[in-house]
């Protein structure tokens, strides 16, 4: 079973301290720590490697800070967490130079890497729009800008997967905006060879999944945070699953309690069977940054063992 993590990792203590002293000076340490975590992912047996995003203060930050037409503003609650992000303010038409991911990702392993980006509608909903006037044109321009970011990496990295992070879709927006999500996916994944997985997390993904599964889109699979619903209920929902891949967020990255391997594997098997014949991948429920670093490492080891590692 292929397994991977996605999202931001917690910063190791020395990186927190170094960033506190000198944010710019700590960037080199962030890169070294990122390389260390990538090596750990490899060592525990993860077949797919994901950048721990240690340089990212939140999932939108570097895009908001470096794209034309956007700027970073005050803090706003990050969904239903005791955590906050800086809201991107859209002041003009959005344009990307295509350098943000290249400059702020450390990952380099050709063929095994995951590239991750925010889902465009999620990005739009998390922003304050002073220019476009409605979600759809904003989300589509964000999708185009993200596509400009992904395309250079397609050639350089040949990523194994593109993880598209859509937490806003499970907060009552998925069903309302499913068609815009599908249109944005077309723009986002245009000319991409790597399959795109749409990750739905932070709350029960069922409602958003129901809305999205009925619409043809460029995604090759969905990633479901399965920590919110009973397995029986999810099994029912997954009957008739038509996509090529199904990613299951079975390792809870919001709680320190460490899962048993047997329980993760058996849940993956039950859900995979209910879905029919997609390729089943196992992952974390969301970013690991919601637990301290030492616990994130424990979760990583669980995932490695699920993937057949030592």
């Amino acid at each position: 079973m292929r397994a991977y993590t996605f999202g931001i990792y917690p910063r190791p203590l020395r990186l927190i301290a170094a960033t506190r002293r000198d944010p710019e000076g700590a960037r080199e340490l962030a890169r070294r720590e990122s390389i260390r975590i990538l090596a750990l992912q490899d060592r525990v047996g993860l077949p797919l490697l994901s950048d721990p995003l240690l340089e990212w203060d939140d999932m939108l930050r570097w895009f908001a800070a470096e794209w034309e037409g956007m700027e970073v503003n005050g803090i706003i609650r990050y969904f239903e967490h005791n955590a906050f992000y800086r809201v991107p303010v859209v002041k003009d038409k959005i344009r990307s130079s295509g350098d943000v991911l290249r400059n702020h990702l450390v990952i380099q392993e050709r063929g095994r890497s995951i590239v991750e980006v925010p889902e465009p509608v999620t990005f739009a909903l998390m922003s304050k729009d002073l220019h476009y006037g409605s979600i759809e044109p904003l989300a589509l321009d964000i999708a185009r800008a993200l596509n400009d970011e992904i395309c250079p990496l397609e050639n350089e990295l040949a990523p194994a997967l593109i993880a598209v992070k859509g937490p806003a879709l499970v907060h009552g927006n998925g069903s309302k905006l499913a068609e815009v999500v599908a249109k944005a996916a077309e723009e986002l994944l245009k000319s991409c060879r790597a399959p795109g997985i749409l990750h739905l997390y932070f709350k029960s993904p069922i409602e958003a999944y129901r809305a999205i599964k009925g619409i043809r889109s460029a995604y090759s699979g969905v990633g479901l945070d399965v920590t919110w619903d009973p397995i029986e209920r999810l099994s029912e929902e997954l009957k008739g699953y038509r996509m090529e891949r199904l990613s299951l967020g079975l390792v809870n990255s919001q709680n320190t309690k460490v899962e048993g391997i047997g329980e993760v594997v058996s849940s993956a098997e039950i859900l995979g069977k209910a879905a029919g014949k997609p390729e089943v991948l196992v992952t974390v429920s969301s970013d690991l940054e919601f637990i301290p670093y030492s616990f994130a490492v424990k979760k990583l080891r669980i995932l490695g063992r699920v993937a057949g590692g030592a």
Binding site: P10, R11, L13, I16, T19, R20, P23, D57, D58, G74, I75, I76, R77, Y78, F79, E80, H81, N82, A83, F84, Y85, R86, N255, T256, K257, E289, F290, I291, P292, Y293, S294, F295
Partner: protein
């Protein structure tokens, strides 16, 4: 208790610790007595600073507390610290796991409260972190679910702590529940845990909530059952900086409409200065926020005035300026209310 007064004023909780206090606390040479003395002095300075500004309700700026989660958790059995978790940017807080039954080991506010009682000339209002927030900010590895954890915290930790504070002379207690609207579906759980924590506590109970993701809308109708007499909420953070007392200039005050719509009899502490920016609100902006709120509620006597939240995020100088500008705005608002409404003349 202060006499009935139009627009009474208060702070919400924390002030940044003075540099000399931090130096003493970090010093390896300082003895325990020297550290205790430094804490006493900082508390005293804060009490007199808040009284000097003219606030009607004061405390000690939480001079002895590390922060609102880690400090109580240190004194509660059943918790084990797990490590640091990000709040935003590179700001982190220590988060704990619940690994056993929760019990109050030691009343962590009693000594500080007695000190405030001894030195405060104004009415002390003691802030206490509430059970739902402690539950929401912890990793629950022991209880069946968050609700069970929150209720156990209310019964076994917060309630006994509050009762001892009342026995020691506390009349006004502010239960801080910043997490109350973090998960809108869990507002009934917050209310249940809150009510358990204040059950049988003979005091004037305030609740402080801030940085709601939904403009506090999810609180209604559930808060109608809340055993609290007063809401102290953050509003300035979500408002514009334009002057004016109409809907086009004032943003984010839906809660006041709901208060009126539901006939909620409680009073409201209006957050009039933003604690996350050094930019200084002009007193006229504070005035307009108050006048707008009074208009929405239909009764200025239901209003108290406070900053959005604790001022520890600002330097002490900026915090003081924020409180002073708040007081000037309050004076302007009182004058305007008296001019337009003779009943507002106490």
């Amino acid at each position: 208790m202060p006499e009935k007064k139009l627009l009474p004023t208060k702070e919400i909780g924390s002030l940044r610790k003075p540099s000399w206090l931090l130096e003493t606390l970090r010093s390896r040479k300082a003895t325990r007595e020297e550290k205790d003395l430094a804490r006493d002095e900082a508390a005293l300075v804060n009490i007199k600073l808040l009284e000097g500004v003219g606030l009607d309700y004061v405390y000690d700026g939480e001079a002895r507390r590390i922060e609102m989660y880690e400090y109580p958790v240190r004194y509660i059995d059943g918790f084990k610290f797990a490590g640091l978790v990000r709040s935003f940017d590179n700001r982190y807080y220590k988060k704990a796991r619940v690994v056993g039954p929760v019990r109050l080991r030691e009343n962590y506010h009693l000594d500080e409260f007695r000190f405030v009682m001894r030195w405060a000339a104004k009415t002390p209002k003691i802030p206490v972190t509430g059970p739902y927030t402690i539950a929401d900010w912890s990793y629950n590895e022991y209880y069946r679910d968050k609700e069970e954890l929150a209720v156990e915290l209310a019964r076994n930790v917060i309630r006994p702590l509050l009762k001892e504070l009342v026995e020691a002379g506390a009349h006004v207690i502010q239960v801080d529940e910043p997490a109350a609207t973090t998960h809108p579906d869990e507002v009934p759980m917050f209310v249940e845990a809150f009510n358990e924590s204040v059950y049988g506590v003979d005091a004037d109970i305030h609740v402080h909530i801030c940085y709601s993701g939904d403009n506090y809308r999810s609180l209604y109708p559930h808060v109608l059952n809340l055993r609290a007499s007063h809401y102290a909420l953050e509003f300035a953070n979500r408002d514009t900086w334009e002057l004016g007392v109409d809907d086009s200039h004032r943003v984010g005050y839906d809660f006041l409409r709901l208060m009126r719509e539901y006939g909620d009899p409680r009073t409201l502490g209006l957050g009039v200065v933003d604690v996350h920016t050094d930019s200084m609100e002009p007193p006229e902006l504070v005035r307009d926020r108050i006048l707008y709120a009074a208009k929405l509620l239909g009764d200025p006597w239901k209003l108290m005035v406070n900053p959005d939240c604790g001022l520890r995020t600002r330097s002490r100088r900026v915090a003081l300026q924020k409180l002073e500008t708040m007081m000037r705005g309050v004076e302007l608002a009182r004058a305007a209310l008296r001019a337009t409404n003779p009943k507002a003349d106490a």
